[in-house]
Amino acid sequence: MNDCVPDNGGISGSRRDFFQSVSGGIFGAALASLLSQDVGPVRGLAAESRQVDSPPSLNYLQPRSPPFAARATSIIHLFMNGGPSQMDLFDPKPYLDQHHGEPFFDKIAGEVENPQSAGKVMRSPFKFARHGECGMWVSDAMPQLAGRVDDLALIRSMATTNLTHEPAVYLIQTGKMGPGRPTLGSWVVYGLGSECQDLPGYVVLDDPLGLPVNGVENWHSGFLPPAYQGTRFRSTGSPVLNLRPDVPQPEQVVRAERDLRRRLDDLHRRERPGQPVLDARIASYELAARMQMATSDALDVSQETASTLAMYGIGQAPTDSYGRRCLIARRLVERGVRFVQLYINGQIWDNHTGLATDMKAACDRTDRPIAGLLADLKQRGLFNNTLVVWGGEFGRLPIAQLPADKDERKAGRDHNKNAFCCWMAGAGVRGGVTIGATDELGLAAVENKVTVPDWHATILHLLGLHHDDLFVLENGLKERLTGVTDARVVQELLA
């Protein structure tokens, strides 16, 4: 597969050249169909098809139709950073019950991050049962989600390539095990623009308790323009950095200052015809003003009924915080935000110790809000165009990891790159299916293995994008989310 394309050096000064050098040829072959629209100009302008004195049109987020039919137009990514334990949530392993306490470490020594604390084979402290019409296995750690399994497509055979948080998180967010690449959300908004022109196309709802591993790099746009970067909406204080003045001014003064700025810019622009960037700059100030209003409205959950709030577990410990973010996510997709990404603080799924208690606590914080989100999306008809994705960066080992005092009751599990679970639900997803399988211990995906690039390709597919055709030209090379790997769409998951 080509990861690089020779530049078409012969054509200069045309829209085509502009797209190649600036926006980097969105959608490859489907380029021509887009020439009538404006996509993510970075510098310079394509003036060829436009009058010199044309209206502002530097709009990175103009909605764009995907090259083929999309199942989903919005996506909510519930990122479970830390690495939820597959054999304690979705992938029951009777073998672990039968062989509990047997030594196993020597067979996987190279795959254990903390050999000094490695223990024996460990059964799950949770009980599994089949649920729903589909009979999907879910442990009793997630009772609410268990009630919605007929909406879920569960992948049990996810596999990644590194067992350390940072590289694994980079990989699942950006397709490559290192910093500097655009994230999934950036690619999606780059490809599709945004349906909402008053809010960012890619919104991140992070946890007031703290940032996930890799911090703000989780929503960075890498080499794509910053317009495709995720914008953090905080659920406390000012939702967006600098959204409100640090030093508030009287309304009259604000108005007078705004009028002055407009007149200055008008004066400046009149002297400089043929510089659309100046129009775009004025437009960006107008967007900033609209954002101030629209953001407050989108985040105002007091407009919701008591029963809706209860559905998400808002107002109750321990679900309030995550429940609010889930509800805001719904309010954002309702308003046409393309990509909403939810985080939970630090590493609550990183259960090196205290599996029975700490992982349960993580479930308790998220189970009801997520089930509530699925139910709410469904009852409002948003399930038809919203894709919900749940998962972390890797899974966990079938052997115990012991705390310093070697107390087995407080055992947890160490990282595992060879197997983990994730699920998708909503638009385009076939509910109630379980895809792939791990070996008898849950150590490695063996059947219908789904790699991270496969996972990316599948999400893009559901949004009407093809992973090979969504690229940007960087220094003559075609850069893609799925890189140079052969990725496949997980067909079994599609409705």
Binding site: A47, G180, P226, N242, V277, S284, N475
Partner: protein, 951 residues
């Protein structure tokens, strides 16, 4: 897991396969490959890998000799033949097919659907030329032949079975054992890196008994699972040894531990001049691989606009389409443009007045002289090089974002060298091989020159790096760091996407994978993944580490600096002793203790000698080593000058001299790329786009130059006039092209919409640094103290990150810490790049958060108030003068009449608004309201397009 017996069966089978291969060692590499594939789940048992019994009598099998060979020769032989060997693959001979290419085997006998030879053809990817496409029958022929076991009905496989050599065994021992039994650490006094050292053995005796694996301690300890010790592997970032690796060790010992004496290399020099089969002669003809020739300055019609040769080259292309250079800009525009361009700051009001009133014809040239001589020049132009080098004050990649507390010395070196206009060839020599320029260890005095040489090597320490931690310090992690350095070097200096050749030969440029690894061998003395210096090693950092080597710091700061430090420290020690003796209070003691300064160190790269052998990694995988290579430069970039030749940098030097030879090759006057790439970058930063648009890619996938003659003319000027960068700047700036107006009229927009012909100057936004520095500059609060450790950052609860308020704050942004994981909000808002690993061209974006920041941020607000205070001091309460001064300082020009009127009215109006909101009614002569109104006016100006954009 396969049993040993199965493995023996397989290896026996494979041995027969490889019997025919050209070289024994090569065959064993193939065996290793098959083993690796075997591990990956490709089962060979029963796969019938060239079994004589099968090859001769199979009815259904097409004949290789009669059918396959002619077909492959006709369809594939042109590129994969004796003469051209793309992807190191020769499909014209049975030996070549058996050997496979750079990605490994091309056939998996009996399994056409796993055989690249069949798959690539079936997918239509090969042959690339549709004229060569195979018919359905021909494709089927390949399929049937592979399905039949790929029998070679030729009488060419009678050689005795091959055995592994040291080239198969050493890589295994390097990756599994060398951290504890290698160069730096020899536990039990054992060194496992070579046969002689294995025979010498350690405390317990020889490690191997040639001919007797079972009696060999090495095998005994490994088979017993004692070595490498499982529970301690992570401490040294080593993965467990694989059963097939043990098998290879065993077989090598069983065979008497043979050493191949002829080298297993594939070098351009192994072939007669110009016949390197991996780099076809035709591909060497590409423009970028030819030495630039001095172009003749063209004669043009619009001679009145051609102030210099640069103008003439541009006019020639413009006249082709009926255009010419735009008229000169107004003086004030030119002044502001040049001032920002060369110093990153607006002109001082005094300069404005004197320049605008200077009527002599060379006024602009003299202005340029002043700007080039300003120390601010280096602060502006060093930034471009720091971007290209990927400068950062932290390691990145991991949460901890480990600081690089000594990186600032490199930043200062770049600024100083830029100001001093150190010739570019010397600038490169220092950065690539500064440690090999002088014997710093033996020097009686570290002069500023020696110090610079060492600091400059920090260039090669810029890649993000998490190898300080064991868990992110494994071989692939280390190789990633080296790959990033190669990427930086390739894009910033060579202008080639050489990084592509890490896993396979380059798809567009004639850079075989071999040449990538030859380049790695150049850096091996300093960057050796089997002998790794961690970025930082100190107590409390990461899990317990067993590594004893570490740190990338050298203590060789100038003798003067060291003495001063020592003196200060000994003085402190004396004071402390005195204070303690005198029973001084605890806080006095604490103050003295805390004023101690850390030992001054240099973050450097240096050759440590005795580098490990370099092997090609097939598919970029260190578990899949291919042939050995020697250090060398890309074959396509040879032939125009003296060959790359490694010499010891000084008598009895420990350093290999490999990088020095490389740097000398790079700066050879005949080098086709070095000068072109640099003048193109300089051009881009003045004119908005490079003559070659793809700044870091001059290869076929890049963009061809819009003005090849001009590019070459500049390159030759650069080389022949002493690699003098300021001279090149002057060529670009003193002509008419730089003085042009940025106005776009209908004709320009129609005929030259992208400004490919440079028919106007681009209108550009202030860069992140220029904006930050200028906000402080107009407020009168810019601290122009230069150099030294970087200013700290502070993070507000809501995520806003700003330079910490301290005595040294308000310095230019280049002196503020650039942490990969904690970037100042201002930088992030205005397109400061993620340095991962570097950036040749920043985005110039326009997004709402920039507007929100300039409107609402508290620091901007405060700076606007300070600006207003400054204006108030100059203009008292004369509103007209206030407006004028605001324009002089912020815009570098007086206001035009409409601006003067608008400004006056606005200040009055704002004063009214302030006064009303204070409840003082419409009282306009309220001084407090006036002061605030002036601040509001200043803030509007700082938010206006006229301030943020340069015409």
């Amino acid at each position: 897991m396969r049993t040993v017996k199965q493995v023996e069966m397989q290896t026996g089978r494979v041995a027969r396969l490889v019997a025919a291969a050209e070289s024994m060692a090569l065959a064993w590499l193939l065996l290793l490959l098959l083993q690796v594939l075997g591990d990956a789940g490709v089962c060979f048992a029963g796969a019938g890998v060239i079994d004589e019994a099968q090859t001769t009598t199979r009815d259904a099998a097409p004949s290789y000799a009669r059918e396959l060979q002619p077909l492959l020769q006709a369809k594939c032989g042109r590129c994969h033949g004796e003469k051209d060997r793309k992807a190191a693959l020769d499909l014209r001979t049975s030996a070549g097919i058996r050997r496979g290419g750079e990605s490994g085997p091309v056939i998996s006998p009996r399994r056409p659907d796993e055989s690249p030879l069949y798959l690539r053809v079936q997918a239509g990817e090969m042959p690339p030329d549709p004229a060569d496409a195979l018919s359905a029958e021909q494709l089927d022929l390949i399929r049937r032949w592979v399905a039949a076991g790929a029998p070679f009905d030729l009488d060419d496989h009678d050689s005795p079975p091959a055995v592994p050599s040291q080239h198969d065994v050493v890589p295994i021992l390097l990756r599994r054992c060398a951290p504890c039994h290698g160069r730096n650490r020899q536990e039990s006094m054992l060194d496992l890196r070579s046969k002689p050292s294995m025979l010498r053995g350690g405390k317990s005796g020889p490690a191997i008994v040639p001919g007797n694996p079972d009696a060999s301690l090495l095998i005994q300890r490994v088979v017993a699972g004692e070595m490498p010790p499982h529970e301690r592997l992570v401490e040294v970032s080593v993965k467990p040894i694989e059963p097939l690796e043990i098998e290879t060790l065993r077989q090598w010992i069983a065979a008497g531990a043979p050493e191949v004496t002829e080298e297993v290399v594939l070098e351009p020099g192994d072939f007669p001049e110009g016949t390197d089969p991996l780099v076809p002669t035709a591909e060497r003809d590409f423009w970028a691989f030819q030495t630039p020739c001095a172009a003749v300055v063209p004669t043009v019609s619009h001679r009145e606009r051609a102030r210099n040769p640069v103008d003439a080259f541009l006019l020639q292309k413009q006249e082709e389409v009926g255009l010419k250079l735009s008229p000169d800009s107004e003086r004030s525009v030119l002044l502001r443009r040049a001032s920002f361009d060369l110093t990153g700051l607006p002109p001082e009001p005094d300069d404005v007045e004197s320049f605008l009133s200077d009527d002599l014809p060379d006024a602009f040239e003299r202005l340029l002289d002043r700007l080039f001589g300003s120390p601010r020049f280096g602060e502006r132009w060093a930034r471009y090089w720091l971007d290209a080098a990927g400068y950062a004050d932290s390691e990145g990649k991991r949460e901890q974002d480990l600081p690089r507390p000594h990186a600032w010395r490199y930043r200062d070196y770049v600024i100083r060298s830029t100001n001093a206009d150190v010739p570019f060839d010397q600038f490169l020599l220092q950065q690539i091989a500064g440690d090999e320029l002088t014997d710093y260890e033996a020097a009686s005095e570290i002069t500023p020159e020696v110090y610079d040489n060492l600091v400059a090597t920090g260039f090669l320490r810029m890649a993000p790096d998490a190898t300080w931690a064991n868990i992110t310090g494994y071989l692939p992690d280390r190789i990633d760091v080296i790959a990033d350095e190669v990427d930086i070097l390739g894009s910033a200096v060579l202008g080639l996407s050489i990084k592509c050749a890490r896993c396979h030969s380059h798809k567009f440029d004639p850079i075989p994978q071999r040449d990538y690894y030859r380049l790695l061998a150049v850096f091996r003395g300093a960057y050796d993944e089997y002998d790794w210096l961690k970025p930082d090693v100190r107590a409390g950092l990461g899990p317990v580490s067993q590594d004893i080597v570490g740190g990338r710091l050298l203590p060789f700061v100038t003798t003067a600096e060291r003495r001063a430090w020592e003196l200060r420290e000994s003085e402190l020690t004396r004071q402390l002793a005195e204070a303690k003796a005198a029973g001084a209070p605890a806080d006095r003691i604490r103050d003295l203790e805390s004023s101690r300064q850390a030992e001054p160190m240099i973050q450097a790269l240096w050759d440590r000698g005795d580098p490990t052998t370099t092997y090609i990694y097939r598919r970029g995988d260190p578990l899949n080593p291919g042939r050995m290579v020697r250090p060398g430069v890309p074959s396509v970039l040879t032939g125009w000058t003296a060959p790359y030749e490694v010499r010891s940098p000084w008598p009895a030097a420990r350093a290999t001299g490999r990088r020095l030879a490389f740097a000398r090759w790079l700066t050879d006057p005949q080098h086709p790329l070095t000068a072109r790439v640099q003048v193109n970058q300089i051009w881009k930063h003045h004119f908005g786009s490079g003559l070659v648009r793809s700044l870091g890619n001059f290869g076929r996938a890049g963009t061809p130059p819009t003005h090849p003659e001009l590019l070459d003319w500049l390159a030759r000027e650069f080389i022949e006039r002493g690699w003098n960068r300021k001279r090149i700047h002057r060529h670009m700036l003193t002509g008419s092209v730089y003085r042009q107006s940025s106005a776009v009229d209908e004709q320009l927009a129609r005929v030259d919409p992208q400004n490919d012909r440079y028919t106007r100057m681009p209108m550009v936004r202030l860069s992140a640094e220029a904006l930050y520095d200028t906000l402080h500059f107009v407020a009168g609060s810019l601290n122009e103290e230069r150099f030294g450790p970087a200013v700290d950052l502070q993070a507000r609860e809501d995520g806003l990150i700003t330079p910490a308020e301290q005595s040294r704050a308000r310095r230019r942004l280049i002196y503020v810490k650039q942490l990969r994981k904690k970037l100042a909000t201002h930088l992030e808002n205005f397109d400061y790049p993620q340095m991962n690993p570097n950036c040749l061209e920043r985005r110039d974006s326009l997004v709402a958060p920039q507007a929100l920041y300039l409107m609402n941020n508290g620091t901007v607000h405060e700076l606007a108030e300070r600006f207003a205070d400054r204006i108030g001091q100059i203009a008292a309460d004369d509103v007209t003068r206030q407006v004028e001064q605001v324009y002089w300082i912020a815009m570098g020009r007086p206001p035009v009449e409409t601006e003067r009127v608008l400004g006056r009215e606005a200040i009055e109006q704002l004063a009214k608004s302030w006064s009303q909101s204070d409840g003082a009614g419409a009282e306009t002569n309220d001084p407090a309201a006036h002061r605030r109104a002036l601040a509001s006016f200043c803030r509007a100006i700082l938010n206006s397009a006229g301030f943020l954009y340069i015409d």
